[in-house]
C-alpha cells in the first residue's frame, strides 16, 4: 500500500517577470516577499472586502458546476478531501490518504473536530453519503451541463440515463466508512487520482443538506437548476465562510465568517463577490475604490496598476497555449514542414509583448509544474533561415495555409488571440509561407477545430488539477480529426502513463510520453502564462494560485495607505 505524500510547494528561483524558460523561471508559486503587514482590525470587522469577478456563479451546489466563477465562491464555503497548494496535492478535509497498489482503493483519514456550518460533524459516513449521492444521480442531474466534472472523472453514474447521452461506465464502485476513515473504491485506476479529489465539484456538503434535497428532481438537461442551488439556506459546508446572501439582481454573493472553522479563521468578517463583466470596468472600479480586488486583469493594465501602487501578484503558470498543425491538410502531414513552421515562430516575442508577467515559452504540451515534465524533449528554436531551408527541402516553398483564431473571447492562456495570430502570421510570412486569416466566433471555433477544418489554429487549456492526462490525454490519447495524425506510439505512451498507479514509474512514463509527442510535433506549444489578479494597496492579498484557487480567508485590510 502506497502512502500519499504531501509536499510543500516551494520556491527555488527568481520570480521576476523577465525570466522566460522553465530552466530559469520559478514556475510554481513564487515565495511571498510582502511579509505580514499590520491588520486594520476595525476595518476587517466593519468593512466588507469586495472582489470584482468577470461573471456570475451558477450554482451553490458544488457538484452542479463546472465554471471558475462558481468555484471561486464555493471554495470559500466548502472543502474537498484534498486541497492544492500551488499545484501540489495537500491535505484538505483528509489529513492523509493511502492508495492500494492497483490504485483502485483510496483511503482517507479525516481531520477530527470538523463541523459544518449547520453544526453537523464530519466523519467517514458523511463523505460516503456525498459520493453515493453523486453516483446515484438520475435524469437531468447526469447532463454534462450540470455534472461535467463528476462524469469526466468517474466516467458515468450507477445507472446512466440514455436521454443524457453518457455511454461510458462509472468506475465508482462504492464507499465504506469507519469513524474518521473512509475508503473510495474504483473499478480501475486512472491518473486523474488523487488530483481529482481536489476538484471543487467534489466538495463535501453537510449530511443535513443532503437529506433536505434528497427529493429534489432535475427532470431534463434544460430544466432550471433547483431553487436550493440559487438561494442560501439549504447547503452547508465546512469552509472558512458561510453563505449569507446571493442577490441575483445586484449580481453579488455575500459571505460571512464561520467562527468554528477547523483551520485558521478568516481575517475579514464579510466578503462580497460582485460581477463586473468588462475588464476595463473592473480596473476602473478598483482604481476608484469601489472594489478591493479583481481577477483577469488585462496584461496591458498590470503595469499601470503597479505603478499606481496597486498589487498585481504573479500567479504560477498552469496552462498551455499551442498552435495546432492539422495533419489532415497536406503538407502538414510532412514532419519536415511542421518542423519548419515551428522554427519560423518567435515565441519569445509573443511572451514578451502580449502575455502578462510570469509568462514563459512552452517546450511541451504540459506546464512545467506537473509531474512528467521532461527536460529532454525535442525543441524547435526560432530560426527563420532554417525554417526556409526545411520548407525548400520538403518542396513546400510556395506554401499557403489557412490560419484560424477566435474573435470574441480572451482565454486565461490566450489574453489577446488576434495579437498572437498577427505575430505568428508575420513570422510565418517571413519564412515564405502565405497565411490566409480565418477569424471565427468562439461557438463556431471549437466545432471548426474539432472537425479538422482549420489547418492552423490557436487553442489551449488551463488544468483543473495536477494531472498530465488532463492536458496530454484530452489531446493525444486517440486518433482525432482535430490533429489528424495516427501514431500508435503516441497513443500507447499516454495510455501507459495514465494507467500506471506507481507514482515514480508514472512520472517516468509521462516524461517519455512528452518526448514522444514532441517528436511527433502535432503542434507547437507556444506559452504558459498566468492570468493576472489585482488588489488595492491597503489589502493583504491571498496566496495567489496557478489553479486560481485563492483562499479569501487569508485576505485582510492593512493599516497602510
Amino acid at each position: 500500500m502506497a502512502v500519499g505524500l504531501f509536499t510543500a510547494c516551494g520556491s527555488d528561483g527568481d520570480s521576476g517577470g523577465d525570466a522566460d524558460t522553465a530552466e530559469d523561471f520559478d514556475f510554481s508559486c513564487p515565495e511571498r516577499t510582502d511579509g505580514s503587514p499590520e491588520a486594520d482590525t476595525a476595518a476587517n470587522e466593519s468593512q466588507p472586502f469586495v472582489f470584482g469577478t468577470p461573471g456570475d456563479p451558477t450554482s451553490l451546489d458544488p457538484v452542479l458546476a463546472s465554471d471558475g466563477e462558481t468555484f471561486r465562491v464555493n471554495r470559500q464555503v466548502f472543502d474537498t478531501l484534498l486541497d492544492a497548494d500551488c499545484t501540489d496535492t495537500v491535505p484538505g478535509l483528509a489529513e492523509s490518504y493511502e492508495q492500494n497498489e492497483e490504485g483502485t482503493e483510496w483511503t482517507f483519514h479525516l481531520r477530527e473536530g470538523v463541523t459544518f456550518h449547520d453544526g453537523a460533524a464530519l466523519d467517514g459516513a458523511v463523505v460516503c453519503k456525498n459520493f453515493d449521492r453523486w453516483a446515484n444521480f438520475t435524469g437531468g442531474f447526469q447532463s454534462p451541463n450540470f455534472t461535467y466534472y463528476y462524469s469526466s472523472v468517474f466516467g458515468g453514474f450507477a445507472e446512466n440515463d440514455p436521454a443524457m447521452g453518457i455511454e461510458t461506465e462509472s468506475i465508482y464502485e462504492g464507499c465504506t466508512a469507519d469513524g474518521l476513515d473512509v475508503t473510495i473504491s474504483l473499478s480501475k485506476y486512472t491518473s486523474s487520482f488523487p488530483g481529482a479529489f481536489t476538484l471543487e465539484s467534489l466538495s463535501i456538503i453537510s449530511p443535513n443538506s443532503i437529506d433536505a434535497i434528497a427529493d429534489v428532481e432535475l427532470p431534463a438537461a434544460d430544466s432550471p437548476l433547483p431553487e436550493y442551488t440559487q438561494t442560501v439556506g439549504t447547503l452547508a459546508g465546512t469552509g472558512p465562510y458561510m453563505l449569507e446572501e446571493w442577490n441575483h439582481s445586484e449580481q453579488q454573493v455575500t459571505l460571512t465568517r464561520f467562527d468554528d472553522y477547523w483551520g485558521e479563521p478568516a481575517k475579514v468578517k464579510t466578503v462580497i463577490f460582485r460581477t463586473i463583466s468588462d475588464e476595463t470596468a473592473r480596473r476602473q472600479a478598483l482604481e476608484a475604490g469601489d472594489i478591493h480586488g479583481y481577477d483577469l486583469a488585462a496584461p496591458a493594465d498590470a503595469q499601470t496598476l503597479m505603478e499606481a501602487g496597486f498589487q498585481v501578484p504573479v500567479r504560477g503558470v498552469f496552462n498551455l497555449l499551442y498552435l495546432a498543425y492539422t495533419q489532415g491538410h497536406a503538407p502538414l502531414d510532412d514532419h519536415a514542414v511542421r518542423e519548419a513552421l515551428s522554427h519560423a515562430i518567435d515565441r519569445q516575442r509573443i511572451v514578451d509583448s502580449v502575455l502578462p508577467a510570469g509568462g514563459m515559452v512552452a517546450t511541451q504540451f504540459i506546464p512545467p509544474s506537473l509531474e512528467g515534465y521532461s527536460e529532454d524533449v525535442a525543441t524547435y528554436d526560432y530560426d527563420t533561415e532554417k525554417a526556409t531551408e526545411l520548407l525548400a527541402e520538403a518542396g513546400a516553398e510556395d506554401l499557403t495555409l489557412t490560419f484560424c483564431y477566435p474573435t470574441d473571447v480572451t482565454r486565461p492562456y490566450m489574453p489577446a488571440p488576434k495579437d498572437i495570430f498577427d505575430m505568428i502570421s508575420s513570422d510565418l510570412e517571413a519564412a515564405g509561407v502565405t497565411v490566409e486569416a480565418r477569424p471565427i466566433t468562439w461557438v463556431e471555433y471549437i466545432p471548426a477545430t474539432r472537425s479538422g477544418e482549420c489547418p492552423l489554429y490557436l487553442l489551449g487549456w488551463t488544468g483543473d488539477y495536477a494531472d498530465p492526462y488532463n492536458f496530454l490525454g484530452t489531446w493525444f490519447a486517440t486518433e482525432s480529426t482535430e490533429w489528424g495524425f495516427d501514431n500508435p506510439e503516441v497513443f500507447d505512451a499516454i495510455a501507459a502513463a495514465n494507467t500506471e498507479p506507481d507514482e515514480a514509474t508514472r512520472v517516468e512514463l509521462w516524461k517519455t510520453a512528452n518526448e514522444v509527442v514532441m517528436e511527433e510535433l502535432p503542434g507547437l506549444p507556444i506559452s504558459s502564462s498566468p492570468p493576472s489578479i489585482a488588489f488595492a494597496p491597503n489589502v493583504y492579498p491571498p496566496d495567489v494560485s496557478p489553479l486560481t484557487r485563492e483562499d479569501f480567508s487569508q485576505v485582510y485590510f492593512t493599516t497602510g495607505s
Binding site: 466588507p48 469586495v50 451558477t58 450554482s59 452542479l64 463546472s66 437531468g140 447532463s143 454534462p144 451541463n145 450540470f146 461535467y148 462524469s151 469526466s152 436521454a163 443524457m164 447521452g165 453518457i166 455511454e167 431534463a220 438537461a221 434544460d222 432550471p224 437548476l225 442551488t229 440559487q230 441575483h248 439582481s249 445586484e250 449580481q251 453579488q252 455575500t254 464579510t270 462580497i272 460582485r274 460581477t275 463586473i276 463583466s277 468588462d278 470596468a281 476602473q284 472600479a285 482604481e287 476608484a288 469601489d290 472594489i291 470574441d408 482565454r411 466566433t441 468562439w442 461557438v443 463556431e444 471555433y445 471549437i446 466545432p447 489551449g460 487549456w461 488532463n470 484530452t474 489531446w475
Partner: protein
C-alpha cells in the same frame, strides 16, 4: 376605444408570432451551438454530443419551434442554458434595472428637452437657440458608449464624485418592492438607499439621455415654431390672453402631439442604448445578459428577451397612441 385597443392587441399577437418564427429560425441557422460555451475546451466530442442530445438540440428545428410555442402558451420561457435559471426569473431580476435607467434617462431628456426646445423656438436666432441646436446636434453625434466612458473617467475615476459601477453600494441593505431602487427607497422610507441609488444612476442616465435629449430639443423647437405661427395663437394673443395661458393651452398643447410620438419611439430605442450603458457601468440590467446569451447561443434566454422587448415596445406605442386622445380632443372625437 375598447375595440381599438383589442384590435391593436390582436395585431400585436400576430406580429409576435411572426417575430418569434423568424428569430427562432435565424438563431438556429447561426453556426455553432451552446455546448461550445457551456463545456470547457477539452470536453470530449462525446460529451458535447451528449449535451446537445440532452438539450434536444439534435431535434428538427420545427420540432424545437413547436416545443417553444407550447412552452410560451403555458407562460413558460424555459431556462437559460448558461445560468440554469428560469428565463422569466432572469428577466424579472434584470429588467427593473434597465427600466429604471431608461426612465431616469427619459426624465432628464424630457425635463430638459421640452423647456430647452421651447426656449430655443421662442428666442429663435439668438445665442440660446444657436446653443440648443448645436448642442442637440452634438448629442446625436457622440456615441453613447464613448460618452458613458468619458463621464465615468472624469466624474467617477478622476474626481471621485460618483461611483464607477453597480446600482447600489456593496452590502447595501434595502427592501425590494418594485425593483426600481430609487422608488423603493422612497416607498419604504429608506432614503439613504434612495440617495445611494440616485448616485449610481446619475452618470449612466446622463449618458443614456444624450440622444433622446437632443432629439426632443429639436422636435420641440420645430413643433413650437410651427404652432406659434398658427392663426389661433395670434388670435389668442390679440384677445389679450395671458402669455402663460397662450403658452400652456394653445402652444404647448398643440406642439405636444409630435413630441409625444417621438417620446414613445425613443423609449423603445432607449433599450438598445441601455445595453451599452449598462456594460460600461456594470449596471446589472439586461445588457450583459443579452450579450452573454448571444455569444453563448443561449436560445431560450434570447427568445425570452426578444419577446419581452417586443411586447414592451408595442405597449409603449399603444400607450402613446391612446395618449393622443388626452392631448388632442379632435382625435378623441374621430375615434
Amino acid at each position: 376605444m375598447l375595440r381599438y385597443t383589442v384590435k391593436r392587441l390582436l395585431q400585436l399577437s400576430v406580429a409576435l408570432l411572426g417575430l418569434t418564427l423568424l428569430l427562432f429560425a435565424w438563431f438556429k441557422a447561426l453556426p455553432g451551438g451552446p455546448e461550445n460555451r457551456l463545456l470547457p475546451e477539452n470536453a470530449t466530442d462525446q460529451q458535447r454530443e451528449a449535451l446537445r442530445a440532452s438539450l434536444g438540440l439534435d431535434e428538427p428545428v420545427w420540432v424545437q419551434y413547436g416545443e417553444f410555442l407550447a412552452r410560451i402558451a403555458r407562460f413558460d420561457f424555459g431556462s437559460s442554458l448558461s445560468s440554469g435559471r428560469p428565463v422569466a426569473t432572469e428577466l424579472a431580476d434584470r429588467l427593473p434595472a434597465t427600466i429604471e435607467l431608461s426612465l431616469a434617462a427619459m426624465i432628464i431628456a424630457v425635463g430638459l428637452g421640452i423647456p430647452l426646445g421651447y426656449l430655443a423656438a421662442k428666442r429663435r436666432g439668438t445665442w440660446l437657440d444657436f446653443a440648443a441646436v448645436s448642442g442637440s446636434l452634438l448629442g446625436t453625434c457622440i456615441p453613447i458608449f464613448f460618452l458613458a466612458a468619458m463621464l465615468k473617467v472624469v466624474f467617477a475615476q478622476e474626481l471621485g464624485w460618483l461611483p464607477t459601477a453597480f446600482r447600489l453600494s456593496a452590502g447595501a441593505d434595502y427592501t425590494d418592492v418594485t425593483g426600481l431602487r430609487v422608488l423603493d427607497g422612497v416607498i419604504t422610507g429608506e432614503f439613504g438607499v434612495a440617495w445611494d441609488a440616485v448616485r449610481h444612476l446619475i452618470l449612466p442616465a446622463i449618458a443614456l439621455s444624450s440622444i433622446p435629449l437632443a432629439v426632443i430639443v429639436r422636435i420641440t423647437r420645430a413643433s413650437v415654431l410651427d404652432v406659434v405661427g398658427e392663426d389661433y395663437v395670434r388670435t389668442a394673443d390679440a384677445k389679450g390672453l395671458k402669455p402663460s395661458t397662450i403658452r400652456g393651452r394653445h402652444v404647448m398643447r398643440n406642439a405636444m402631439l409630435p413630441i409625444a410620438t417621438i417620446i414613445g419611439l425613443l423609449l423603445g430605442s432607449l433599450f438598445a442604448g441601455a445595453v451599452l450603458t449598462e456594460s460600461v457601468f456594470s449596471f446589472g440590467g439586461i445588457g450583459s445578459f443579452v450579450y452573454q446569451a448571444t455569444t453563448e447561443r443561449d436560445y431560450p434566454a434570447l427568445m425570452g428577451f426578444i419577446l419581452v422587448i417586443a411586447v414592451f415596445y408595442v405597449v409603449i406605442n399603444l400607450i402613446v397612441d391612446l395618449s393622443y386622445g388626452l392631448l388632442d380632443p379632435r382625435v378623441r372625437v374621430r375615434k
